[in-house]
Amino acid sequence: MALYSEKVMDHFRNPRNVGVIEDANGVGEVGNAKCGDIMKMYLKIENDIVEDVKFETFGCGSAIASSSMATEMIKGKPLSEVRELTNKAVAEALDGLPDYKMHCSVLAEEAIKSALEDYEKRKSENNS
């Protein structure tokens, strides 16, 4: 039996939405190098919709696949939906992750939450 599902391997081998958005209006970075996983999410939000998303990840196969899948799940979606994204949904969309790799999907959820927070913060700063 393979360690990862075919979906995980597909997203790992051909990650979607890799890179940087130079004029992102929400950026979040979570994890730390000590534990071996860092995820960085760049969001471009317009009219409460995620117009574009990109990621950079330092981590194992499931960390890269989770970031990739999470970006696909939020691209073009309204913020109300994006806020509801859970790590479980990311893991399920990947046809499951090994138990000891579930934290990778948690990181993906947290990276998006962190980018959203950054977006809200920038917005309130601009308004004040």
Partner: protein, 395 residues
């Protein structure tokens, strides 16, 4: 496919497979039985023991106990020394920080039973210093256990000097020689070794077989109670086919050691030179005092598991000391012991080659690793920060 994970396990040699299957077909008796096919099995068993005695420079058939592999041999050696020590009121053991878990976890158990263990530093080069062994020996030291060669970074320890020190001080000396036997010359007499562990699957023999050498006169403790096999020191009907194949594989490995060493060493050195060209990388462990087939590097800004998966896609099988490949949160204790910080230890790669690897394979590996490291760095947030000067390079 290029198999470059011989430190994890080796492919059995044809000679060992033939010896094993021949034994299964024709010498299937129980060595404890008195009829012919049993007695023939007994003969096969004792012939194998003789071969092994010769191969490691021992001189008495009582000095070899066949086990289920390296882990069991390590456990039995430490148990033996601990019981001798306890009886004499000596409860101190000296070891190193980067032993195999078969040693480290057994030592942890002994600590819970009241033993005190000194774990010697292995320094940045991955080498124990014999002077530090000498300085650590106390009147209540019952055992020094230092591995012959490290399984991750391949560094070869000054076993002969450590053995001489222990002999002079009257302290038992055990070495886990699982990675060394069949690859570099090992001689229990010249090296002053009292106990030695070996495992067949690391020298093209079968998995689940190994042996423990215990010098004559040392009272061996049992781990497995039962029948009178192995002179009552290891119960259980002997794994005759496995033992036969072990002896054949070891004899073969030693017969070809010199020629193979030359071939492997040249390829190892080419791999090291090629991988050094990758910026912000570093070799782990002393470059020369290492096993002929071991290459171990850290690459800054990337993580080892994704490196391994992409190399596997390119047909290269290797291993890493990253946390993700160990199933724990910490990277390899060996890399931490030589002073690699977590961030860098996660990005490690071990290639362990044998003599079947071709020059083309070597060049292919170098190019593949360069390509994959560059690719993974291209979307690593750590790498971005390093390049942008927001973080300082460690390597």
């Amino acid at each position: 496919m290029i198999y470059a994970d011989n430190a994890a396990t080796t492919k059995m040699s044809d000679a060992a497979i033939d010896a094993m299957t021949d034994c299964m077909r024709n010498t299937y008796g129980n060595p404890s039985s008195l009829y012919e096919v049993g007695q023939r099995a007994k003969e096969v068993l004792e012939d194998a023991r003789d071969e092994i005695i010769k191969a490691i420079g021992a001189d008495n058939f009582r000095e070899i106990i066949f086990t289920s592999g390296g882990s069991e041999a390590d456990n039995q050696a430490l148990r033996t020394a601990a019981e001798i020590g306890r009886a004499a009121g000596k409860m101190h053991i000296i070891s190193s920080a980067f032993e195999h878990h078969a040693i480290l976890h057994t030592l942890n158990k002994l600590e819970k039973e009241g033993f005190e263990v000194t774990y010697l530093d292995v320094h940045e080069d991955g080498l124990v210093r014999s002077e530090e062994v000498e300085a650590a020996i106390r009147p209540d030291t019952c055992l020094v256990t230092i591995m012959y060669a490290n399984n991750e970074i391949g560094t070869i320890q000054p076993i002969r000097e450590i053995g001489a020190i222990c002999r002079a001080k009257g302290v038992l000396f055990h070495t886990d020689a699982v990675q060394a036997i069949g690859h570099i010359p090992v001689n229990v007499k010249d090296d002053n070794i009292d106990m030695l562990s070996a495992s067949a699957h690391k020298f093209h023999g079968p998995k689940g077989t190994g042996f423990l050498y215990v010098r004559k006169g040392i009272k061996i403790s049992n781990l497995i109670e039962g029948g009178a096999q192995e002179r009552g020191k290891r119960a259980g009907t002997e794994n005759v086919p496995g033992i036969r194949a072990t002896a054949v594989a070891l004899k073969d490995a030693i017969a070809h050691m010199e020629e193979n060493d030359k071939i492997i060493r040249a390829k190892r050195d080419r791999l090291i030179a090629g991988l050094k060209e990758i910026p912000h990388s570093a070799i782990n462990g002393d470059e020369n005092k290492r096993l002929p087939g071991n290459v171990n590097f850290c690459f800054e800004g990337i993580e080892g598991e994704s490196l391994l998966l992409l190399l596997d896609d390119k047909g290269i099988q290797a291993s890493s000391g990253s946390a993700c490949t160990s199933g724990s949160l910490d990277p390899s204790h060996v890399l931490l012991a030589i002073g690699r910080v977590h961030d860098v230890a996660h990005g490690s790669l071990r290639l362990s080659i044998d003599e079947t690897i071709s020059d083309e394979d070597v060049e292919y590996i170098i190019n593949a690793v360069k390509e994959v490291v560059t690719y993974l760095r291209s979307f690593s947030p750590i790498w971005r920060d390093l390049v942008a000067g927001k973080k300082e390079f460690i390597l």
